[in-house]
């Protein structure tokens, strides 16, 4: 599904150049649950952003279904992000001026989904994440766990092939974090590919593949001991 070859990323800070990625190779297959682990500054978020087309590599090749994408125009990259990818962030990143339903509808608006279908899809997704009673609530009226579930519903809005999650439980208490992980595992079971960045060892074992990053280099790329989709209770 996704293949990156010798991807490098450097940031020119004027006085110095930071090499965030120093030649990374990675294959992500459909149905994978890949976790990316590493300490702060290891390059795991940079890798996730490049995989999610939020950033482009300075060097190397990025292929989706064997088609190079890094030279595509902005409009096409936006279309891929909208139709094929879903993002979940550590701090939820909901729009505060919009209620839960409207937040979930945003990718559908950008994707030009029919107006009449938008609401139905968004309501169904909020139902799926257990928030059908909170659809008119604004983010500041929701708990952290509820906000992250709205963010997951939003990530699923266009029925993406891949969900990219950046420390999705990082801002949540452990029991709420477990709820969110169970949701992601359930989605993966249903066939959605997931790439998740975490620095938590326990969460790193939730996927079927694990990548460890250090100083912009991929230290290891291994299958998790249990090659099957992990049990939600593991977390």
């Amino acid at each position: 599904m996704i293949k990156i070859k010798n991807v490098k990323k450097s940031y020119d800070l004027g006085v110095s150049v930071v090499n965030a990625l120093k030649g990374v190779d990675l294959n992500v297959e459909r149905g994978d649950f890949l976790t990316i682990m590493g300490a702060s500054g290891s390059g795991k978020s940079t890798l996730l952003h490049i995989l999610g087309l939020l950033d482009l590599p300075s060097e190397g090749e990025y292929l989706i279904d064997n088609i190079p994408v890094q030279n595509l125009p902005d409009k096409e990259l936006a279309r891929i992000r909208n139709k094929h990818f879903g993002f979940i962030f550590q701090s939820f990143n909901l729009f505060n001026e919009l209620n839960a339903l409207e937040n979930v509808m945003m990718p559908l608006i950008y994707g030009k989904t029919d107006k009449k279908d938008r609401k139905n899809i968004a309501v169904d997704l909020l139902k799926k994440v257990g928030l059908d009673h909170r659809i008119t609530h604004y983010p500041n009226m929701l708990s952290g766990g509820e906000q992250q579930r709205v963010a997951i519903a939003r990530a699923l809005a266009n029925n993406p092939d891949l969900i990219l999650a950046d420390e999705p439980t990082g801002n949540l208490p452990s029991e709420k974090g477990a709820e969110i992980m169970n949701l992601l595992i359930e989605l993966n079971k249903q066939g959605t590919t997931i790439i998740m960045v975490t620095h938590d060892d326990k969460l790193g074992r939730c996927g079927n593949k694990k990548v460890v990053m250090k100083d912009g280099v991929m230290l290891s790329h291994e299958l998790v001991e249990n090659p099957h989709i992990p049990e939600p209770t593991c977390c």
């Binding site: 940079t46 952003h49 902005d74 909208n82 993002f87 729009f95 001026e97 945003m106 950008y110």
Partner: protein, 427 residues
């Protein structure tokens, strides 16, 4: 999608209430001030066009150079003192000849205060003479040029002019005051010990004056309706002088004024060389007015431009600050599938919505300000009135679109330069 984005922009406006109110009010106030100034300027132009039809805009005055700088009071004083200025050598025939020789001239008339009932009044500095009120010496062209119509009787005859007969034509109000409902024709009126026979009286002429203004005019002895009009030659006969202090030439069409002035100058300079005649028309006044109005327009334009500049810069600053503050939102939008073009439109719409509300409020304020300006101008006695017109509304809308574009474009452009990977890692 555009409608959805507009809806979201309105929600954002509500969410940032204080900031939005500041932007909207500054924009509304700036626009209203500028639009009101424009209303007044337009009204000024319209008023000028209106007054082109006023008789005084169609007059060319001819008088000796010594009169330059003298106002009516000084002129009256000299006439009242029976001490006419030396060097004025016009006769009634001279004046007639000017009219005949200058094809653009339609009327040649004389109008001068008559000294019928002098009374000495002493002020702090010197003794001076005040003429009897509103006694006016004219020739027949004066009636024609000023479009005076008789309600009863006749104008002066050639005989009256030649002999300087003691006859008068009365203004409508003075006739009513003196004779009420009686027919005054053939009756005598007295100025001191001088008796004059009434041969005619004019129709009431108050133009478009309001009811309250008419009452005020009736009480004013200098109003046309209170004139006691005599043949001009009465003065030349009774004073023992044949000099005419000055005369006026009139035209029917204001557009002929410039040509008429040229003709008169050419004729008088060739017929009366070296007499230092002053030939003045409203064209001279126009030059003065043009210079004055240019200065006023520059000042007003500077105030208006400053007001708008402040409003624009305030809004630009607030919008740029907002883009910086909310750059994470642009990153999120891009992560959700918004292209940079959508981010641009989205941010632009946020400003346009604010601009739209500000412009709407600005229009309402403009209506209020214009009414206020009209009241102020009216109470200051100005002939100019500030009026609302479709033109000012259109200008207001164009201005608001222009300003909104100014303070919307750069923030929107800045929003597209936000790198999502940068802002989204700042968790």
């Amino acid at each position: 999608m555009l409608l959805d984005l507009i809806g979201i922009s309105f929600k954002r406006l509500k969410n940032r209430m204080v900031e939005s109110v500041v932007v909207i009010l500054s924009l509304a106030f700036g626009l209203a001030v500028v639009s009101t100034i424009i209303s007044v300027i337009f009204a000024f132009g319209d008023s000028l066009n209106d007054v082109q039809d006023n008789p005084w805009r169609r007059v060319i005055n001819v008088y000796p150079a010594e009169f330059e700088g003298a106002d009516y009071g000084e002129t009256i004083k000299k006439i009242g003192n029976k001490n006419l200025i030396e060097g004025v050598e016009f006769s009634l025939e001279d004046i007639e000849r000017v009219k005949e020789s200058c094809p653009s001239i339609d009327y040649a008339y004389i109008e001068d205060w008559m000294s019928l009932y002098d009374q000495e009044v002493e002020d702090e500095n010197e003794n001076w003479w005040e003429t009897s009120p509103a006694a006016f010496g004219v020739n027949n062209d004066w009636f024609l040029f000023n479009k005076k119509e008789l309600e009863g009787g006749t104008f002066f005859s050639t005989e009256d002019y030649i002999n300087g007969n003691n006859v008068v034509v009365l203004g409508n109000n003075i006739k009513n005051l003196l004779f009420a409902q009686e027919n005054p024709i053939g009756k005598d009126i007295l100025f001191g010990d001088k008796s004059f026979k009434v041969i005619g009286y004019l129709k009431a002429d108050y133009g478009d004056s309001k009811e309250s203004d008419i009452e005020e005019r009736k009480a004013n002895k200098w109003d046309d309706n209170n004139y006691v009009i005599l043949p001009y030659s009465y003065k030349t006969m009774k004073d023992g002088t044949t000099k005419i202090s000055y005369f006026s030439l009139g035209i029917d069409d204001y557009n002929n004024l410039e040509k008429a002035v040229e003709e008169v100058k050419y004729y008088l300079n060739s017929e009366f060389p070296g007499n230092g005649l002053m030939i003045k028309s409203s064209l001279d006044w126009n030059d003065d007015f043009d210079n004055t109005s240019k200065i006023i327009l520059r000042i007003v334009g500077f105030i208006a431009a400053t007001a708008l500049l402040i409003a624009t810069l305030t809004n630009l600053n607030l919008m740029l600050a907002r883009v910086t503050r909310e750059k994470k939102g642009f990153g999120i939008s891009q992560a959700l599938g918004a292209s940079k073009a959508i981010v641009f439109i989205n941010t632009l719409l946020d400003s346009v919505v604010v601009g739209f509300v500000g412009a709407f409020l600005g229009l309402l304020l403009m209506v209020l300000f214009t009414i206020g300006a009209d009241v102020i101008l009216g109470s200051a006695g100005s002939v100019v009135s500030a009026t609302l017109s479709v033109k000012t509304f259109v200008i207001n809308i164009i201005l608001s679109i222009f300003i909104t574009s100014l303070f919307s474009f750069f923030p929107a452009l800045k929003a597209t330069q936000v790198a999502p990977s940068q802002v989204l890692r700042e968790d």
